[in-house]
């Protein structure tokens, strides 16, 4: 399983790969990932690579990722080329109309990529007093709700519960459920 996780510095992307890593290791699988630290973290584009299974290098080849988790619409679009044929994308979108771009639609269709879009900022604004720091938990929940990847909502909730600081545990779990509920059963 190869993931690409993208967004902007400061959005809490590293937490997401920690959750994925925790689950993989408790399943007895090997992990390998690459993170961004330093200058790029100051609000600029950031990308994390994460691979579960028997790999040697931490980087994902373009066109080989199974799953793209995107915290930011533009960053998500910019990195769609990482997805393999029939890969899945979970995208936080703030301008859904832009996703109707005909070139984009034909690219997705051609590659049989399923893009699951959710208005993450709106959800967090309405349901979590605009605390956008919970985007990572929201997206992880959405991934399970959309049935993308191979992790169950229980595994994700359990890992988030273990890894989140005590102070934010309940809020993180709430965000996981909000993300899950956005797609599950629809």
């Amino acid at each position: 399983m190869q993931y690409i996780i993208v967004g902007l510095g400061g959005q809490g992307i590293l937490f997401t790969s920690r959750v994925l890593g925790y689950i993989a290791v408790s399943r007895g699988e090997r992990v390998m990932g690459s993170e961004v630290h330093g200058m790029a973290q100051r609000g600029g584009s950031v990308i994390s690579h994460f691979k579960v299974g028997d790999y040697s290098s931490p980087l994902v080849l373009t066109g080989a990722a199974d799953l793209l988790l995107s915290f930011d619409q533009n960053e998500g679009i910019r990195n769609l080329h990482f997805l393999r044929k029939a890969g899945h994308a979970i995208l936080n979108v703030h301008a859904p109309e832009a996703m109707e771009n005909p070139h984009l639609k034909s690219f997705l269709a051609e590659r049989q990529i399923k893009a699951f879009c959710l208005p993450g900022y709106d959800i967090l604004r309405e349901k979590m007093e605009g605390r956008f720091l919970f985007m990572n938990a929201l997206i992880l929940g959405a991934m399970c709700g959309a049935g993308a990847g191979n992790l169950s909502i229980d595994e994700v909730s359990d890992a988030v519960e273990k890894l989140a600081p005590a102070k934010f545990r309940a809020d993180n779990l709430k965000a996981v459920n909000l993300g899950y509920g956005h797609f599950a059963g629809k």
């Binding site: 200058m39 600029g44 290098s57 980087l59 080849l61 070139h103 034909s106 900022y121």
Partner: protein
């Protein structure tokens, strides 16, 4: 057997340092090396070792402190990023000649790309220059293993040994095996011996040939006794290509071959690029006609081969001479070398979409609420015709506000200010110059430039942006903060003002940068003073970094659409992620996803369009 835990490459290196019985670890932070030393402190606390763990004021200091501690027979290490090794080059060249007592490890983290550096230089080249052995890990686990071997090798030959992890090893996250501490129970025991410890020219005449002999022996060892790092992965049947690879490039090749299910490729992995096991490489070369070398970032393996004419590599430009070897790059290089078609990056539709939607990568920016943004704004307002040399740190991002005109390296804001002063002075012109430097960088290398400017009477303004942290690299302590890394250690804080006064500066004023009007007044005053007295004048702008999350007044703001005339002054010169310009409405607006309610932008708009929302001040 140890436990498997997921570690960052830098944590794996730190774990190795503590487990290998290192007694003194000293570093200066710099991406991609910064996480190593805090992890050394963490593991030393957890495992109850006595390891001394310290941030030094710069890399030269770190190197000398650690190297000298090894003279007593203890294991020590100095940790830095690749350009930090430039700062430590002087002691590196010298200490390489010494006949050391305890093991001395140098960790120099490289940044091919570069992602967070002013160069993408190759530390292995420096190892070659200094004649010290170098290990080049391909994974986090291997980096940890190599720490042990590096210490052992250093003690076998009494010479410094370098570990060169590149950024993809430093910042990879991987399951790594942990073990227990080797308790070496060493006691410091410095044996006086001027031939060993004093670098007189007469001693170099003995020590240099001795160093050469050591290096020959290390090369022999690398040829024969390091099969876990230098190994051949043969093809099944006849190999159509032989690839010599080191570091992460090796790991990438392995993943590609697996993905392709190819078996007609032979690989020679080199984990000890200096001194190169030449015989091993030549023997591999003799068996293959089609040869590709993949290494980052300079042709260090290639350079050490007496005959490289057969190789496709960086040397002859087959492999690009600059830049990171990403999986896509390596894929294309292998296919090109094999004469097979390179897959089209088959995404024209996506490219078209990205162009139409004007989606571009987002460059890093100063955080919302960052005090530097306010400091820069005041500086430009006070001295709009100034030249603004700056330095290395978050504030280099002031390029986005057009408030950074030059940056060379750590500490050069001051020396560049001196250079500008002299160049204009010889024309008889008083050119305003404002140098900006952070608190950590000031202690790293700024003080010397200041002493030089005072001594030579250079007129400029020095703005010390004091946010009480080494922010860019993730928030390390420094002399201005005074904290130390290990539990129970106490440091002593050094205040900036007395240091500046001690260097002979007579104009020293401290301001709150959020008050841009007041800061601007002080900037003007400082320049007048500098000009009149022919000396540097210092303004200290003091406000904590947003990373420290200190409590501060929250001022909710809005852009009044009736007053905003769409002039873009705010986005051009203040450039806050929380205050974007809406091209559709032709007006600035607040983006509440990013705004931290610092309230500084109210002072920025010349048309009074940015207002505090009444009744919402906290």
């Amino acid at each position: 057997m140890g436990n498997k835990v997921i570690l960052l490459g830098n944590e794996a290196i730190a774990r190795g340092i503590v487990e290998a019985g290192c007694d003194v670890a000293v570093a200066y932070p710099g991406t991609p090396s910064s996480e190593i030393l805090p992890a050394v402190a963490k593991y030393a606390d957890e495992l109850g070792t006595r390891t001394a763990v310290e941030w030094a004021v710069n890399e030269k200091v770190a190197f000398e402190v650690a190297a000298t501690a090894s003279f007593t027979g203890k294991r020590t290490c100095a940790i830095m990023k690749q350009v930090g090794l430039n700062v430590a080059a002087d002691p590196l060249m010298s200490v390489a000649h010494f006949d050391l007592a305890g093991g001395f490890l140098i960790v120099s983290a490289d940044d091919p790309g570069p992602h967070s550096s002013q160069t993408e230089q190759d530390s292995r080249y420096f190892a070659m220059f200094a004649k010290v052995p170098c290990f080049d890990p391909a994974s986090a686990q291997e980096a940890k293993d190599m720490v042990f071997d590096a210490f052992d090798l250093s003690e076998k030959y009494h010479m410094p040994v370098m570990l060169r992890p590149a950024v993809r090893v430093d910042h990879c996250r991987q399951d790594v095996e942990t073990g227990t501490v080797r308790d070496l129970a060493r006691k410091a025991d410095f044996k006086k011996d001027i031939r060993r410890w004093v670098c007189l020219p007469a001693h170099v005449k003995i020590n240099h040939p001795q160093l050469n002999a050591k290096l020959d022996s290390v090369r022999e060892d690398f040829e024969t006794a390091f099969g876990r790092y230098n190994l051949e992965i043969p093809a099944k049947g006849k190999a159509r290509i032989g690839i010599i690879a080191s570091g992460v490039s090796f790991s990438i090749v392995m993943d590609l071959l697996k993905e392709w299910k190819r078996e007609d490729v032979a690989i020679l992995k080199i984990g000890t690029p200096h001194p190169l096991p030449v015989k091993m490489v030549e023997e591999f070369m003799a068996r293959h006609d089609n040869l590709l070398v993949l290494e980052e970032t300079y042709p260090v393996i290639e350079m050490q081969l007496p005959n490289r004419t057969k190789l496709k590599g960086r040397w002859n430009g087959f492999v690009p001479r600059a830049g990171e070897l990403l999986p896509e790059v390596i894929r294309d290089l292998i296919l090109n070398a094999l004469g097979e078609p390179v897959p089209e990056e088959g995404v024209p539709e996506l490219k078209a979409a990205i162009e139409e939607m004007k989606v571009t990568p987002k460059p890093p920016m100063l955080c919302p609420g960052c005090p530097h943004r306010a400091s820069f704004f005041a500086m430009r307002k006070a001295l709009p015709t100034g030249i603004y040399p700056s330095d290395i740190g978050c504030y280099t991002l002031g390029v986005n506000q057009r408030d950074v005109d030059t940056t060379i390296d750590m500490g050069a804001s001051l020396t560049s200010a001196s250079g500008f002063y002299l160049a204009y002075k010889t024309d008889g012109k008083d050119q305003p110059v404002v140098a900006t430097i952070g608190d950590s960088t000031f202690f790293h290398m700024g003080i010397l430039g200041l002493a030089n400017a005072v001594y030579n009477r250079h007129a400029f303004v020095l703005a010390i942006l004091d946010n009480s942290i080494t922010a860019m690299t993730g928030g390390q302590s420094n002399p201005n903060v005074g904290e130390k890394l290990r539990q129970g250690d106490e440091g002593r804080r050094i205040e900036i003002e007395p240091v500046v006064r001690g260097c002979g500066v007579s104009f020293v004023k401290v301001v709150e940068p959020y008050d841009t009007a007041d800061s601007a007044e002080v900037f003007k005053e400082a320049w007048e003073h500098a000009k009149a007295n022919r000396e540097p004048a210092v303004v200290i702008l003091r406000h904590p970094c947003m990373l420290l999350r200190q409590k501060q007044a929250r001022v909710k703001v809005r852009v009044n659409p009736d007053k905003c005339i769409g002039c873009k002054y705010c986005t051009n010169f203040f450039n806050c992620p929380g205050l974007p310009f809406d091209e559709g409405a032709k007006k600035a607006r607040i983006d509440e996803r990013f705004c931290v309610q610092c309230g500084v932008c109210i002072q920025v708009c010349p048309h009074g369009a940015i207002e505090a929302v009444e009744g919402e001040e906290a």
